[in-house]
Amino acid sequence: MQDNSWIPLFPEQASTFAWEVDALYFYLIAISVFFTVGIVAAIGFFVVKYREKEKFANGAEIHGSVPLELFWSFVPFVISMTIFLGGALVYYKQYRPPENTMEIYVVGKQWMWKLQHQTGQREINELHIPVGRKIKLTMTTEDVLHDFFIPAFRTKADVVPGRYTTVWFEATKPGKYRLYCAEYCGLNHSGMGGWVYVMEQRDFDNWLSGNVSGQTPVEAGQDLFMNKLGCASCHAGGPTQRGAKLEGIYGKDVKLANGQTVKVDDEYLRNSILNPAGQIVEGYQPIMPTFKGQVTEEQLVQIVAYIKSLSGVTGTTSTTSSSSSNSMTNSPTTPTNTASNSNATSNAAVNTNRGVNK
């Protein structure tokens, strides 16, 4: 987007899959030019060559040709399949976050983006990230649909109220890139945007240390869990606790009272806080009240971050269960240790910026 040419034609390529999207784009342009030029040339030729010789004279008696029809049904089909496959490959990369990502929380609201780093730094309409790191954004919104769009990274994803969506990228080039909201969200839709700053790791570390971090999401979540919302009274009571045990559950499959099995992920934790009766784990009573309306989206993200930290999952998200069960071995089994453990994990969150989680 820093192109200063008179007529800009392409946005800058600044993510690992940007060139793949561009390659697909050029492939499609080549196909389009080929067919457009071919057909327009044919029409142009026919139009000149077979122009009316005499008023009301009739054209040749040609009714069609089945081989030709089959030919020009088959060829477009094959070409369209190559386009489908190319698109599918790129899409699979765009929409499947890899392991070992640095996670950043995003909450959209009319008409601003609120972002928070694992280390606690908050930003509004700006996102600072290091170059060469895989970044995963976990996003939701307080009100209507939004869409997080960075053209230079060639990716976007809708942000949907009531659920978490993710988008990931790895920036390849330091610089300043535009950030837009791409899903219409009302009055000041076109004002809901800002900048993404991609920095060298060293500069990013400086930026991090130069910013007041306040509480990390895990610390803030712990505060809510222990004190403000009183979750601990049921979920951290040791052997007598009434609520489900939260330590080590993240990333695992749990059996529900109705016999189904679900994987404990961000979405599941979120739903269990807002609608506890919806998916009761086997062996527990449906006694938990709903926290709907009592927690903001940002607080929810923090509680989820804290509960994840109880399973040793922190700044780095692991998408496979194997890695979460690895880290589970460290997780404490007695509630008394929980507090100290979460401190340890929040330190680990800082470390992850240097890629030291494993």
Binding site: L24, L68, Y184
Partner: protein, 556 residues
């Protein structure tokens, strides 16, 4: 057919009453059951809405001349683009060809006296009026600002505009589509003249059959969706808003389950018109009749299976996205077949270049670009970058305006003599067609680039580096505007001062040309008996070409 040769030679004694001078009172129009009069009333109202939508379009382009939101503040801008979309989609594009040209021509083309259900036809016009008036009323109250897509929860919980009133207008208007579709299907099944077999029908009729299927099956879904939206907005029952227990993505599924097929309601009739124009002005049977006919049906059927390609980034599962991308690629094939067949029809033709043919040739060019850029958007990895940007805006304008509007203009010019009994000025017709073509490309081609640059749609203000392309676009829009205003002038002029049209000025074989211009109320003096194929220019079709040539020479 009484006295076929005489009709075609233009010596035919014109009947004293035709459908236009058969009664001049307001009542004779408002209570008519004549499909031709109903079509004319549709023509007047649909044109008025087209003009209104056009005014909104020019406001949008003027605002986007500068990067800042200066001419319109963003609140107004949001209402303006929403009104533009709602009017153009629901009140212009959907009824334009079926309700005007289809209504007028379908019975004529298959040799029927009228549609099978004339009262239902009049009812559908009144429903359209009621729906249109409600949308207009909402507009005068302050309009609606949700975008024509009415995405939830913005439309149900957050918007302070006239969502309910506009929604009610669209809801009611939908029944007009349903009834028209039903009427066409019944008519095509039951009212064909003796000898008019399915495979002798003009492709215009086939296209309308396919369109009617979509109207009949798809439109009820939008009615249900709007009803659910109303229930949530009024009764606060959670259907789409997650804050009260709903699912916003559900709305998108329901909305696009109708609105994607609706895209085919907007383009299939246009394809039908183009088949007529290309074949007739090449004076040659259309290439691959059956393939074009069945590709219309294939488009109508597959069109119901691709709605999810509007939701690639909306949070649906990766695998759903892949399936919808695959199906979208499949639906590209029947459209490609049509383009190839139209082009092949020109081969060894005797092509003449009246205004309708110019529109048809321009249509092929623009529809080609519209269709090919559809492949960009169907390719799921690419569309993650392109969706919700100006690339989408450019793409669907290429299909809707470059496709349907050009086909509509071509058809309107082609059958103008039949509808009014007067000839328009060919000179001005050609000028306006060329202005439309040039202006259209200048308006929308730069938007592809803007989209790839990342300019999101529905933005009242945009980054300054994108201004040059926006200036091109606005400049093009003013040319396009002139190109579309001109026909209002010269077509109106022709009604009063135009040359009188003969029954068959182009010597084309369709049944609609085998009755006087304008036709009598009952369409044909005598029940026609069809013994020829569609687009039959050979000797056996009963056209007296020799006599027509003599007449042509006598004129010079």
């Amino acid at each position: 057919m009484q006295n076929v040769d005489a009709i075609n030679a233009g010596n035919f004694e014109e009947p004293k009453t035709n459908y236009l001078n058969n009664g001049f009172t307001l009542k004779s129009w408002l209570l008519t059951k004549d499909h031709k009069r109903i079509a004319i009333m549709y023509l007047l109202t649909v044109s008025a809405f087209f003009l209104m939508g056009g005014v909104y379009a020019s406001l949008i382009r003027l605002e986007l001349l500068t990067p800042q939101s200066d001419l319109l503040e963003s609140g107004t801008y949001n209402r303006v683009f929403t009104q533009h979309g709602v009017i153009m989609v629901f009140l212009f594009l959907i009824p334009a060809i079926p309700a005007i040209l289809g209504n007028f021509l379908l019975p004529l083309m298959i040799g029927a006296k009228d549609l099978a259900l004339p009262r239902i036809n009049l009812l559908s016009l009144y429903i359209y009026w009621v729906g249109g008036i409600l949308v207009l009323f909402a507009m005068m109250q302050g309009g609606v600002d949700t975008g024509w897509t009415f995405y939830t929860p913005y439309s149900t919980t957050f918007s302070n505009s006239y969502v309910m009133l506009t929604g009610l207008g669209i809801f009611i208007n939908g029944f007009s589509s349903i009834l028209t579709g039903l009427n066409f299907i019944v008519t095509i099944h039951t009212m064909r003249a003796p000898g008019m077999t399915w495979f002798r029908m003009p492709l215009f009729v086939w296209a309308h059959y396919a369109t009617s299927l979509v109207m009949l099956l798809g439109t009820p879904v939008i009615a249900i969706t709007i009803l659910l939206l109303a229930i949530e907005r009024v009764a606060k029952i959670g259907i789409f808003d997650p804050a009260i227990g709903g699912d916003p993505i559900l709305f998108q599924h329901l909305f696009w389950f109708y609105s994607h097929p609706a895209v085919y309601i907007m383009i299939l009739p246009g394809m039908g018109v183009i088949s007529e124009l290309i074949s007739n002005f090449s004076r040659k049977k259309i290439f691959g009749y059956e393939f074009i006919a069945f590709s219309s049906i294939a488009i109508a059927v597959f069109g119901f299976l691709v709605w999810g390609h509007h939701m690639f980034v909306s949070g649906q599962s990766i695998y759903a996205g892949l399936v919808f991308s695959f199906l979208t690629m499949v639906v590209a094939v029947p459209s490609a077949i049509k383009v190839f067949n139209w082009s092949a029809t020109l081969y060894k033709g005797q092509i003449s270049y009246e205004t309708p043919m110019l529109y048809a040739l321009f249509f092929i060019g623009l529809f080609l670009i519209g269709g090919l850029t559809g492949l960009f958007l169907g390719s799921i990895g690419l569309t993650v970058h392109l969706t919700d940007t100006y690339f989408i805006v450019a793409h669907f304008h290429y299909v809707m305006v470059g496709g349907q509007v050009l086909a509509y203009m071509g058809g309107l010019h082609y059958w103008w003599s039949k509808m009014t009994g007067k000839m328009y000025s060919e000179f001005w017709g050609k000028i306006s067609a060329m202005l439309v073509f040039v202006g259209f490309n200048l308006t929308f081609f730069p938007q592809f680039i803007l989209g790839y640059m990342g300019m999101p749609r529905r933005y009242a203000s945009y980054p300054p580096e994108l201004q040059v392309l926006n200036i091109f676009s606005t400049a093009g829009a003013s040319i396009l505007g002139i190109g579309l205003i001109l026909p209002v002038i010269y077509l109106t002029y022709s009604i009063f001062f135009g040359e009188k049209a003969s029954a068959n000025p182009y010597m084309h074989p369709g049944l609609e040309w085998r009755t006087s211009s304008p036709p009598p109320t009952e369409n044909f003096e005598e029940m026609p008996i069809v013994t020829w194929e569609a687009y039959e220019f050979g000797e056996e079709n009963g056209l007296d070409i020799e006599e027509a040539k003599r007449r042509e020479l006598a004129k010079v």
